[in-house]
């Protein structure tokens, strides 16, 4: 959840807007300078910067949830997704960009989890920006070394007989987990199924919700 600012109330009782009211930092000055220089040099326009922010804000895990729900419902689409997730999602109308997207499927024997040990590579064109924890040193360091312990912290206890596969993302190879379809959902519509698909279930740090 976005953290709230109840501990930073102004005298009027309203939260400060932390993005605009904190003392100007060195790096914020650099951002303003870089952006304005790029505009002055004709590299970008202010409108393009704003439009890019809007486009990124519009991407969110519900897009991935529609892909997962369709894969659960349509065996042919599931096969296409596992064979070539870039094209399968692009054909659904999602702007996947230049990256390669690889879907990995959770089954009763295999659980997949994704990480980017280098930095923060994430299927952002499908799911939006990654959660903060995905970018932390702790997640990136430990997921490749002790994935079961990390998963347990997220509330996912893997039985010993389930193989855990960790996928390390790169700039041009992004993974998305196709979570296992919950039991008791036979005959559900794709819209209803999509409601069960959480962001974390597509990263592998969670499971799809039970009906």
């Amino acid at each position: 959840m976005p953290h709230d600012h109840h501990d930073h109330l102004s005298p009027s009782g309203h939260p400060y807007r932390s993005d605009n009211d904190a003392p100007l930092s060195y790096w914020q000055v650099m951002e303003i300078a870089v952006r304005e220089l790029m505009i002055e040099k004709g590299e970008v326009t202010a409108a393009e910067v704003a439009a890019q922010i809007d486009a990124m804000d519009a991407r969110n895990p519900s897009h991935g949830a529609r892909v997962v729900a369709r894969a659960w419902d349509e065996p042919e689409f599931r096969a296409a997704l596992l064979a070539d997730a870039t094209n399968a999602t692009r054909e659904m109308g999602f702007d996947i960009g230049p990256m390669n997207l690889v879907a990995v499927e959770n089954t009763q024997d295999v659980h997949n989890v994704i990480v980017c040990t280098l930095c923060s590579c994430y299927p952002r064109n499908l799911l939006g920006l990654p959660p903060d924890w995905y970018k932390t040193r702790e997640y990136r360091s430990r997921t490749v070394k002790e994935p079961r312990k990390v998963l347990a912290e997220f509330g996912v206890e893997l039985p010993d007989n389930v193989t855990c596969r960790v996928h390390d993302s790169t700039a041009d190879m992004r993974y998305i987990v196709l979570p296992a379809r919950p039991k008791g959902t036979d005959g559900w519509t794709q819209e209803a199924l999509a409601e069960l698909v959480t962001r974390d279930s597509m990263i592998g740090t969670g499971l799809a919700k039970q009906p």
Binding site: M1, P2, H3, R17, S18, D19, N20, D21, A22, P23, L24, S25, W27, Q28, V29, M30, E31, I32, A33, V34, R35, E36, L37, M38, K41, E43, V44, E48, V49, Q52, I53, M56, D57, V115, T117, L118, C119, S120, L129, P131, D132, W133, K135, T136, R137, E138, Y139, R140, S141, R142, V144, K145, V150, E153, F154, D168, A171, D172
Partner: protein, 101 residues
């Protein structure tokens, strides 16, 4: 980093501030203009050294890397950056006040 020992995964989540979203946008748009690749950004991040990963926030590292790459690509000079940053600082004491509007 991968494989190093570390503590529990922090689960704090914050909304991205406007300046952070703008850094993200500049990264996408600068790459689209052909001034750098993700590899070029990554190389500049590595050059900052390990301490930068302790002392700087995520988008602080990214704007530093974008800036380094844009200067190397010749989009603007170090002098132009210095003058611009100096001028931005005179506008006000908060991010909102320092906008050129």
């Amino acid at each position: 980093m991968g494989g190093d020992a570390a503590g529990p995964v922090p689960t704090d989540q914050h909304d991205f501030a406007l300046w952070e979203k703008r850094v993200d946008a500049l990264m996408i748009l600068g790459a689209a203009r052909g001034h750098f690749t993700v590899d070029g950004l990554r190389r500049a991040l590595e050059d900052m050294g390990e301490q930068a990963f302790e002392d700087m926030s995520y988008y602080e590292r990214w704007i530093a890397s974008i800036n380094q790459n844009l200067i190397e690509a010749g989009v603007y000079s170090l002098e132009e950056l210095g003058s611009k940053m100096e001028e931005v600082r005179t506008r006000g004491e908060t991010y909102g006040a320092a906008q050129d509007v």
